[in-house]
């Protein structure tokens, strides 16, 4: 053993039988992170996830930019889910500045965030498929995502990183004829994702690989503080869209999908069921949305906070509860922005889930946690 190497990098010899293995950060199966696993033969004895490779200092950067110019960089952690990442920040700034948002803007936000949730989940599903060796499940979601990306592009003008939500509403109104196009493409998208059941979720090969691997019990899920689809797959009916409705979610009929098993299969199926639910929410929102009206409150060029004030807002993102804590003082820049992200909270379950599993089951357990490394590192 080389004593000059830092402790995390040195090969650790624990036992004659046990070997330490670094999965990542270069390994494609790990994302931008390292998982240090100790294996005894084919079985994982201990596991230590090591995030932090893609830390960008988003929170510190937010202290040097004003409330509006914070928007483009705060949505970078998850570019596929950029509306949901920005949502709690925008809700918080609205409370600090005391802005009332027009009704039509609230509905547009709900539609945009549900479309974004589906776009993110499809990307995650594509990765989950390819790491289980199911390359059709990589191609299909990657292709069908295009239906929704096309809608987001019509709506916001960008395919990813939309920068669409601003304190006081949304940047622009919907383009003409958007409602019809949206309804048509979302209906077709729903029909398409229902076909995934036969090829993926009811596929005996997938079931054999994911059923009864990495079981997270209901008590453990609550005790570890997991959130989102991981929590719902363990039998806890918890969804912020229903428990703490923000914007217009209380006027919409939101149904949560709960599975009791808590294994990899349940954790991979709950996001898929959520996508079907998102399609229903989009249809409801399109129906209930006011047909005309303002979408944005006109703000002063450089809005300032009123005084020392703090606010914590959270929304249900594609990866679970996503909170944003903003401290403001009487300056155009926030004093402090802190994000509490679902990915980081779900990652804590990984060492418990992998203990005693076979090394070959690691991808199915790891990716089922709905983990996005860039979001966890912020």
């Amino acid at each position: 053993m080389n004593p000059e190497l830092p402790p995390g990098l040195a090969l650790q010899k624990v036992d004659e039988r046990i070997m330490t293995l670094n999965v990542g950060p270069q390994h494609p199966g790990s994302g931008h992170m390292r998982i240090i696993v100790q294996i005894d033969g084919d079985f994982i004895v201990a596991c230590d996830p090591d995030p932090g490779y893609v830390h960008r200092g988003e929170e510190k950067m937010a202290e040097y930019r004003n409330y509006i110019t914070n928007i483009p960089h705060l949505e970078r952690p998850v570019i596929h889910d950029s509306c949901n990442v920005l949502y709690p920040y925008v809700l918080g700034v609205e409370e600090i500045l005391g802005i009332e948002v027009p009704e039509r803007a609230k509905y547009i936000r709900v539609i945009a965030s549900e479309l974004n949730r589906c776009i993110y989940t499809m990307y995650w599903l594509a990765i989950y498929g390819i790491f289980l060796g199911h390359s059709t499940m990589f191609m299909w979601p990657a292709g069908d995502r295009e239906l929704l990306i096309d809608l987001m592009e019509k709506m916001t003008g960008a395919r990813v990183t939309h920068a669409h939500f601003v304190p006081g509403g949304v940047r622009n109104d919907l383009p003409p004829n958007f409602e019809d196009v949206c309804l048509r493409q979302v209906n077709y998208f729903e029909k398409r994702i229902k076909e995934y059941a036969a090829i993926f979720y009811d596929n005996p090969i997938l079931i054999a690989r994911t059923k009864d691997t990495g079981i997270l019990s209901r008590q453990d899920a609550i005790r570890l503080g997991t959130t989102g689809s991981v929590l719902r797959a363990s039998g806890v009916d918890y969804d912020l869209r229903k428990k703490e409705p923000y914007d217009v979610y209380e006027e919409l009929d939101v149904h949560t999908n709960v599975m009791k098993e808590g294994d990899s299969y349940a954790r991979s199926k709950v996001p898929w069921l959520d996508m079907l639910e998102s399609c229903a929410i989009i249809r409801q929102a399109l129906q209930k949305m006011p047909k005309s009206g303002s979408v944005r409150v006109k703000l002063k060029p450089n809005p300032k906070g009123k005084g020392l004030d703090s606010v914590y807002k959270r929304v249900e993102s594609g990866r679970g509860s996503l909170g944003c804590y903003i401290v403001s003082d009487a300056k155009p820049e926030p004093y402090r922005v802190k994000m509490s992200v679902g990915s980081f909270r779900n990652l804590i379950a990984l060492p418990y889930l992998l203990k005693g599993e076979k090394l070959g089951n690691m991808p199915s357990v790891y990716w089922s946690l709905n983990y996005w490394p860039v979001e966890a590192d912020r």
């Binding site: 930019r65 483009p72 916001t156 003008g157 076909e195 005996p204």
Partner: protein, 165 residues
Amino acid sequence: MNTATGIIKALNSGIKHLAIKRFTLRYPEEKLKFVGDGYQFDPSTGVGIAGYKGRHMLFHDHCTGCQLCSIACEGVAEAIAMVKVPEEHKQNKKAIMPQIDYGKCVFCGLCVDACPFYALYMTNDYELSSFSKEGLIYTPAQLQVKPYVSQDSSIQITDRGATHG
């Protein structure tokens, strides 16, 4: 469901797709259709007009050289620099106009929101690649040119599936 029928159903679900038309867009030959002429902003109402956020377009007869776009970009990408222009405009005493570095621009469109004189819009042009970093810097004269963007296909949904056509 037993294993054999499950596998046959999964295979069958894939085989059905052999008869369906290709969904992929053949990019350089056919290009996506966008709504409108690009993202624009109306400062009187404070609301934008939906459109694609591509390369900017600068109207020299409207620009006053107020630098608000450059100030907006300071906190985002620092892509906009104000440069001297040779021609004289009576609304632009300082004769400075924005020059945009597309190596830095993130296409958020906040500069368009900042412009109070209807001088800066975005267009549908997204093919900005260049062999050098200097080629990505667009001078006010280059930004004045309205780009030609061919738009020929959008998503079509039929009973037999979706295609780009």
